[in-house]
C-alpha cells in the first residue's frame, strides 16, 4: 500500500505539487488526470524520487521512502518502475541491453558495466520482450524501433524489475491511436494478471475512463478530484480543466480531443 502525506514539490517560488495526500491500495489502476502543468509528472517523479519532494512523506507499507538513500533508495526505485513519455531508452544500445537495465539493482555493478549478463537474466529479458511480442527485435538498436515498439521495450524493462508499482508518465502521449491501445492494454494486463499497482498520467479522459479503476484529478498542483471514473461527470471535468477548455478550442486550431458528452466540451492536446 502506497501512502502520500502532504506531498509538496516546489520549483523556486512555484508549487508544482501542493500538499497531495492519498492512499493507493495494492493492485489498483490509478489514472492521474489534469491539464498539462497541473503537476502530474512532478507527482510521479517525486514518488520514484527522481526529483525529491520539498515536504511531506511517502510510505510504502513499512518503508519510509523519504528517509531512503544510497542502496536503500535504489532498491525503492527498483520496486517502483517508471515508464516515460519519451521512453528514455539508450538509443545506441540494443533492445535487450536496454531491457536488462531493469536488473541494474539486482546484478553486481561490475557485471553490468561489462555487460556480462547471466543466462537467466537474458532469458528473463527475452521472455519479457516476448510477452510484448517484440523478442525478435532483441538484437536491434533501440533507436531503429518505432515509438510504439520503443515504449514496449520500456515496459519490458519495467517488468523485469519485478516491481510492486509501475509509474507511467504519459506513456501514450507520443504514440498513434493503434500503439496507444497496445501500450494501454499491456499496462492493464500487467495490472490485472499480476496485481501490480499502476499509476498512470493521462491526457485523454476517454482513455482514463476506459482503463482506470480510480481517477485522481490535479489542478494547480492540488488534488481536486478523487473517485471512480463514473463519478467524473462532464461538470467535474469542466472544473478540472478550467474554463479555458472552451477558449482554447476557439483561440486556435490545434488538434483537440473531444470529451465525452453532447456538450462538446473539448480539451486541447498540446
Amino acid at each position: 500500500m502506497l501512502r502520500l502525506d502532504g506531498l509538496v514539490k516546489e520549483f523556486g517560488a512555484k508549487r508544482a505539487v501542493d500538499s497531495v495526500s492519498m492512499i493507493v491500495p495494492p493492485g489498483q489502476f490509478v489514472g492521474v488526470i489534469g491539464q498539462s502543468g497541473a503537476g502530474k509528472s512532478t507527482l510521479l517523479r517525486a514518488i520514484n524520487r527522481l526529483s525529491d519532494p520539498t515536504q511531506g512523506s511517502i510510505w510504502c507499507n513499512d518503508t519510509d521512502v523519504m528517509a531512503l538513500k544510497g542502496r536503500g533508495l535504489r532498491q525503492w526505485r527498483a520496486r517502483c518502475a517508471m515508464i516515460f513519455q519519451q521512453f528514455n531508452l539508450a538509443g545506441r544500445l540494443d533492445v535487450l541491453t536496454n531491457v536488462l537495465m531493469g536488473r541494474a539493482f539486482h546484478a553486481p555493478v561490475w557485471r553490468s558495466v561489462a555487460k556480462l549478463w547471466t543466462a537467466e537474466e537474458k532469458a528473463m529479458g527475452l521472455s519479457a520482450l516476448e510477452s510484448l511480442d517484440i523478442a525478435r527485435l532483441a538484437g536491434q538498436r533501440a533507436d531503429t524501433l518505432s515509438g510504439g515498439q520503443q515504449q514496449r521495450v520500456a515496459i519490458a524493462r519495467a517488468l523485469i524489475q519485478e516491481p510492486e508499482i509501475i509509474l507511467a508518465d504519459e506513456p501514450v502521449a507520443s504514440l498513434d491511436p493503434r500503439n496507444t491501445r497496445v501500450v494501454m492494454d499491456a499496462l492493464l494486463h500487467i495490472n490485472k494478471h499480476f496485481g501490480i499497482t499502476v499509476m498512470c498520467n493521462l491526457h485523454s479522459l476517454d482513455l482514463a475512463r476506459k482503463y482506470c479503476d480510480r481517477l485522481v484529478g490535479l489542478a494547480g498542483g492540488q488534488l481536486v478530484f478523487d473517485g471512480v471514473p463514473a463519478a467524473l461527470t462532464d461538470h467535474v471535468a469542466r472544473d478540472l480543466y478550467g474554463l479555458e477548455a472552451s477558449d482554447v478550442v476557439d483561440a486556435d486550431q490545434r488538434p483537440v480531443l473531444v470529451l465525452g458528452g453532447a456538450q462538446g466540451l473539448a480539451v486541447a492536446n498540446p
Binding site: Q75, A90, A104, V113, Q161
Partner: protein
C-alpha cells in the same frame, strides 16, 4: 511620381521619433566602434613599423624568396628518402599524441561535466586546470619535454599528449553535457547507480562525437607536428627549419608540398572514418 521635396521629414520625425532616434543612435554607436577599431589598427601598425621603407624592401625580398622556392625540388633521392621517413615520423607523433591525450582526457571530461560530477568545486578545479593546460602553447610543452626526455620525436609525442588534454577535456565535457539526459534518467529510475547511468546512458551516446573530434584533431595535429621539429621535437620540421635557415628554398617548398599532400590524404581518410562512425546515424539523431 513623388517628388523628394514633398516628403516632410520634420513631420515624419515628429510622428515616428523612435525610427529616427533609434537608427541614429545605433548607427552612431557602430560607426564609433568601427572608427576606434580602425584607429587601433593603424596605431598598432605604426607601432610595429609597418609604415617604413623597410616594409617595402621586405615585400620585394618576399617576392624574390617566393621565386627562389620554385619549382619544389628535394635535391637528391637521398634527401627525398630522408624527408619521407621524417614525414612518417611526423604523422606517428601526431597519431600517438592525439590518441594518448584523448584517452587521458576522457576521465577529466567526465569530471568537468555538470551532469556527471555533482561537486561544483571538483568541476571548477578540473575546468581551471584544463584551461591552464590549454593556454600554454604546444611549442612550450615541446620545449619542456625536450628538457625532460631529450631531443627527438618522443618529446613531440609527450607534448601533444599534454597539450591536447586541455582541448579534449573541454570538448569532451561539453559533448557530455550536451548529451540527452533521458536515457540516464531511465536507468536511474530502475535503481541503477550513477556509474551505470554514465556507462550506458551517456558514453554510448557521446562516443561518436568524441571519435569525430579525435579525427579532426589528428588532422590538425599532423600540421602542427610538422613544425615541432623546428624546436627539436622530432619530425619533418627539423628538415624544414634547416632548409629555410640555409636558404635551400626549393627543398623547403618540396617539404611544404609533402606536408600539404599528407594532410590532404589524412583529411580524406578521416572523413571516410567519420562517415563510417556517425554518417548513417546523423539523419535520425
Amino acid at each position: 511620381m513623388m517628388n523628394r521635396g514633398q516628403i516632410d521629414v520634420a513631420a515624419l520625425r515628429g510622428r515616428h521619433p523612435h525610427h529616427f532616434v533609434g537608427l541614429q543612435r545605433e548607427q552612431r554607436m557602430l560607426a564609433l566602434v568601427a572608427a576606434a577599431l580602425i584607429a587601433l589598427l593603424l596605431l598598432g601598425m605604426a607601432y610595429l613599423d609597418f609604415f617604413d621603407a623597410k616594409t617595402l624592401r621586405g615585400i620585394t625580398k618576399l617576392g624574390e624568396v617566393a621565386i627562389l622556392m620554385l619549382p619544389p625540388d628535394p635535391g637528391s633521392w637521398a634527401h627525398f628518402q630522408l624527408y619521407f621517413w621524417a614525414l612518417i615520423e611526423t604523422i606517428s607523433i601526431a597519431l600517438l599524441g592525439t590518441l594518448t591525450a584523448a584517452v587521458l582526457a576522457l576521465p577529466l571530461g567526465l569530471l568537468a561535466a555538470r551532469n556527471v560530477t555533482a561537486s561544483r568545486f571538483l568541476r571548477f578545479l578540473t575546468r581551471r586546470s584544463l584551461d591552464t593546460i590549454r593556454s600554454i602553447d604546444i611549442l612550450v610543452w615541446a620545449l619542456i619535454w625536450i628538457s625532460v626526455v631529450g631531443l627527438g620525436p618522443f618529446a613531440g609525442v609527450l607534448a601533444f599528449a599534454t597539450s591536447d588534454i586541455g582541448s579534449f577535456g573541454k570538448l569532451f565535457a561539453e559533448a557530455i553535457e550536451a548529451a540527452d539526459r533521458k536515457p540516464v534518467e531511465g536507468i536511474v529510475s530502475t535503481g541503477g547507480g550513477k556509474l551505470l547511468g554514465v556507462r550506458f546512458g551517456i558514453l554510448p551516446e557521446v562516443f561518436p562525437v568524441l571519435a569525430s573530434q579525435l579525427l579532426y584533431y589528428f588532422e590538425s595535429n599532423t600540421r602542427w607536428a610538422s613544425v615541432l621539429g623546428v624546436v627539436g621535437a622530432g619530425g619533418i620540421g627539423l628538415q624544414l627549419g634547416e632548409a629555410i635557415r640555409v636558404l635551400e628554398l626549393q627543398q623547403a617548398s618540396f617539404i611544404i608540398l609533402m606536408i600539404l599532400i599528407a594532410v590532404a590524404l589524412i583529411d580524406v581518410i578521416s572523413n571516410r572514418l567519420r562517415f563510417a562512425l556517425i554518417g548513417r546515424r546523423v539523419q535520425t539523431a
